[in-house]
Amino acid sequence: MKLLVVEDEDSLRDTIIRSLEKERYVVEYAADYHEALLKINDYDYDCVVLDIMLPGGSGLSLLEELKTLRKKESVIIISAKDSIEDKVTGLDLGADDYLTKPFHLAELHARIKSIIRRKQQEGEMNIALSNITVYPDRHVVYIDNKEITLNRKEFDLLYYFVTNPNRLISKSALAESIWGDYIDQADSYDFIYSQVKNLRKKIKTAGAMPEIKAVYGFGYKMIIDE
């Protein structure tokens, strides 16, 4: 998997790259508009993580450029602009997803995975992690090919864990992914706690190999022994 990160802020770009490399992606980067323009002209990527406000030009023009080049790159916009018009413009220009800064790295991973999976698998897509198989479109989960029933929030949580295996996920990232930006995350921690507890019990009873581990004060981690 080859990714391109277009971001002008050095330390943010560095963090994103380090985090993505942990997932064994091949990551290249561009720090400004022209560098990015050269790279997308010369090479093919599976996914482009694109900032909008760039020195030398707008990320939106890069999107247009990708379109004229008839390239098949998936694009995730990361922007500090949190307005609906910008989201709509970005998605209209062919971006696959839009993340508002600041975001959680776990969220970025989940979105990249989902986009790449959508691109690779035509027809029904599923995510398999050890003996757990999740069908996001149908909202069903199989453990050892046996369907288990989860409520909607438990399903969202499990999906998030499965797309971020072996990664420590903060409670606020979990809360945001389930409730969206708006709901006060701090208030939903108790809810996350009880839902994760239930989920843990359910998948353990069903005989799932991966295990959800609580990390004191911070969040949770789904561990698989390889």
Partner: protein
């Protein structure tokens, strides 16, 4: 009140007084003139009768006639007053008509050459005068009404014609939106004042549009400048937390920094939201159902705060629809709901009532009555709840002020907020 009605109202009052005075004066003048004419003719008649009497003293001493009668009789010298003619109105019974008729009388004294004094009384019927007065009176009233109506119509017409540019300007201003491109103001006029007004309005709107743009730009820059370093810090902490060498103690510290940073992000987002609302950047409106929004949000909050075991009564007495921005409507209801939940006590209660034009939410709480004056101020935390950013009610206030919704707070053992929609 419209300008035209105001003008007509202001115009009709002095008009009424002036016209009334004028009509009264005209009436009195005409009346006086008629009396004068009658007096003149009586005097003429007097001259003729006296002249006749002096030449022919055998002439009849009285003449009964319906229109004009006279009567001469001798008087004592001592009673005579040769200097004055006396005119007065009276009435007389007329046999033929079998009723009293109005008359005007001239009484005068004269002396013959043989030093005899006589008194002459001439009476003339003033029946025509009555008719005349009546006709004049009716004409004046009719003229008065027609004149007033004409003046009002002319005023209306002239007003409409002269102030047309003003209404063009008003219409244009009504359609003017800061976040939409400015349409040129097409308002050709020969009136200098309106021309100045046209130019002033175009200038002002150009200026505000550019200021609005600058402010918007500034907001975006602030958002960018703050969100990016926050993103860097949060993501670095997340990377750090994934390091297997981290001890539990270090992880706990990282977690608390992470929490603080998320709090800053939250406050920053709320402040940006407030500024965006106040800059009217949520301009797209549609007809939204408050019932549906409430229903959806209630379910979400119930799940989040299920630990508090709060009883919620949702009564829909009517359908509340409002033309507003959909996301703002959501933010408004969610903020009110969130307040009701986070300031509630364990096993508390929330009552929501929706009618055709109001949304009422009340919650039980351990906190006493809130200070109304400071309630909607930014960063006002009257309850001392650490989970509150202190911006929730400020956001509510700024949303309702765009849409002409009124909010009222009252305390009756429970904290009650009532939104009244127009």
């Amino acid at each position: 009140m419209k300008l035209i009605h105001y003008t007509i109202r202001n115009l009709s009052f002095p008009l009424l007084i002036i016209m009334t005075i004028w009509a009264a004066a005209f009436y009195i003048l005409i009346l006086h003139e008629i009396d004068d004419e009658t007096n003149d003719s009586l005097q003429n008649y007097k001259g003729i009768i006296i002249k006749q009497f002096l030449t022919d003293s055998t002439m009849r001493q009285s003449r009964p006639d319906i229109m004009t009668r006279y009567h001469i009789h001798e008087i004592q010298a001592s009673e005579a007053n040769l200097a004055n003619d006396i005119f007065y109105d009276s009435s007389k019974y007329i046999d033929i008509e079998m009723e009293y008729e109005p008359i005007r009388v001239l009484r005068t004294n004269f002396m013959t050459s043989d030093a005899k004094y006589y008194e002459l009384t001439i009476e003339t019927s003033t029946l025509e005068k009555e008719d005349l007065i009546e006709t004049i009176f009716i004409s004046i009233i009719a003229l008065y009404i027609v004149l007033v109506i004409c003046i009002l119509f002319v005023t209306r017409y002239v007003f409409g014609k002269s102030f047309k540019p003003l209404y063009t300007i008003l219409d244009w201003l009504n359609k003017f939106r800061l976040d939409k491109p400015i349409k040129p103001l097409e308002n050709e006029t020969v009136v200098e004042e309106f021309d100045i007004l046209n130019k002033a309005i175009m200038d002002a709107s150009d200026r505000s549009t550019s200021l609005y743009g600058q402010q918007r730009q500034f907001l975006e820059n602030v958002s960018h400048e703050l969100q990016t370093p926050l993103a860097v810090s949060i993501n670095k902490l997340e990377l750090l937390s994934e390091n297997p060498d981290c001890t539990e103690e270090q992880l706990s510290d990282i977690a608390s920094i992470h929490r603080v940073l998320n709090g800053i992000v939250k406050t920053n987002k709320s402040l940006l939201l407030l500024s965006r609302i106040e800059n009217k950047q949520f301009a797209d409106t549609k007809n939204v159902s408050i019932n549906e929004i409430s229903d959806r949000s209630i379910n979400e909050f119930n799940e989040i705060y299920e630990d508090k075991q709060i009883r919620l009564n949702f009564v829909q007495k009517g359908i509340l629809r409002c033309t507003m921005n959909e996301s703002l409507a959501g933010i408004l209801i969610k903020n009110l709901l969130k307040n009701a939940y986070i300031h509630n006590r364990q096993n508390g209660e929330i009552n929501i009532t929706i009618t055709d034009n109001s949304f009422t939410i009340e919650n039980s709480s351990n906190y006493p009555e809130l200070n109304r004056e400071k309630l909607f101020n930014r960063f006002e935390k009257q309850t001392g709840n650490k989970k509150s950013t202190g911006l929730g009610l400020a956001i509510i206030k700024s949303i309702i002020s765009i849409y002409d919704i009124r909010i009222h707070y009252q305390y009756n053992g429970k904290h009650q907020f009532i939104l009244t929609f127009r």
